[in-house]
C-alpha cells in the first residue's frame, strides 16, 4: 500500500508518501509524477511516513532527479534512518539532496 498526497502551487510540488514504495506501488507514483512534473521547478518529497523502498522506488527518484536537474530542484525531507541506510548502500545519498 502506498498513499500519495501531493500539493501543487505555482511551480512547486510537495509529494507526501505513506506506506511502501515497491514494485507493485511504484507505477502509480510514476504516472502521477509524469502528469505534473513538466510544470514543476521545485519538487519536495516528504518521506516521514515512508516505511520501505525498493529499487523500483529508487528508479523513480533517479529519473525525477534527472528531470529536476534540467528544470529546477528536488529534495527529500524527513527521511527515516532505515530508508537513509538504503540510500547510502546504493550511493543514492551522493546524488540526492536529503534534508
Amino acid at each position: 500500500m502506498l498513499n500519495i498526497k501531493k500539493t501543487l502551487s505555482e511551480g512547486s510540488a510537495e509529494v507526501v508518501l505513506e506506506g511502501r514504495l515497491d514494485t507493485t506501488t511504484a507505477p502509480a507514483l510514476e504516472s502521477e509524477l509524469k502528469a505534473f512534473l513538466p510544470s514543476v521547478t521545485d519538487l519536495v518529497f516528504d518521506f516521514e511516513k515512508l516505511e520501505y523502498i525498493s529499487s523500483a522506488g529508487l528508479r523513480i527518484l533517479l529519473s525525477s532527479q534527472k528531470t529536476m536537474n534540467r528544470q529546477g530542484s528536488m529534495k527529500l525531507i524527513h527521511v527515516a534512518p532505515e530508508i537513509n541506510e538504503i540510500f547510502e548502500v546504493t550511493g543514492f545519498s551522493d546524488i540526492l539532496t536529503i534534508e
Binding site: T24, S55, Q65, E82, I86, V89
Partner: protein
C-alpha cells in the same frame, strides 16, 4: 540441498509480481520469530523483492511459472541468529551474481535507471550463493539478523 535437521519453512507460489506481498509476508513472519530489527527487515524485504520480481519478469520468458521460497534460521552455522533464504525457479538458467555491478560513483546524469536491484540485494545480504541443479535456479542467501 540442506543439511539434515535444518527446519526451513517453504512457500511455493506463482512467480508473478502480484504475489510479492504474499512472499514478503511469508519472509516477515520468519523475521518476527527471530526478533529482527526494522532496519534489517527493510533490507531483507528489499533483497527478496528484487530476486522474486526478477524471477517473475525474466525466468519464464514472458510466460508464468512458479517459484519456491524457503526460509529459516541457519542451524548449520556455528553462530546463532543467522537467517537463511533460498529462492528456486524452474526457468532459464540465470546466475544473478554474475551480473556486473552498476557504477554508483557516477553523477546523476550518467547513472543508469535500472540494473540496481540485484546489486542492492548483494549489498545488504551477508552472503549469496547460486547454483543450477536439475533444471532449477537455486539462490541462497544469509544474513545475521540478531
Amino acid at each position: 540441498m540442506h543439511p539434515v535437521g535444518q527446519k526451513m519453512k517453504s512457500l511455493e507460489i506463482k512467480a508473478v509480481t502480484d504475489n510479492l506481498d504474499t512472499v514478503l509476508d511469508f519472509i516477515n513472519e520468519q523475521l518476527e520469530t527471530m526478533g529482527c530489527t526494522m532496519k534489517n527487515q527493510i533490507q531483507i524485504d528489499m533483497a527478496v523483492e528484487e530476486l522474486f520480481v526478477n524471477i517473475a519478469h525474466y525466468a519464464y520468458k514472458g510466460g508464468v511459472g512458479k517459484a519456491r521460497i524457503l526460509t529459516g534460521e541457519d542451524t548449520g552455522s556455528r553462530e546463532p541468529g543467522i537467517l537463511r533464504i533460498t529462492l528456486i525457479d524452474w526457468g532459464v538458467p540465470f546466475n544473478p551474481l554474475e551480473k556486473k555491478d552498476p557504477d554508483i560513483s557516477l553523477s546523476v546524469e550518467d547513472r543508469e535507471i535500472g540494473g540496481l536491484g540485484i546489486f542492492m540485494a548483494k549489498k545488504v545480504m551477508d552472503h549469496m550463493d547460486y547454483s543450477y541443479e536439475e533444471g532449477r535456479n537455486i539462490l541462497t542467501m544469509t544474513k545475521k539478523v540478531c
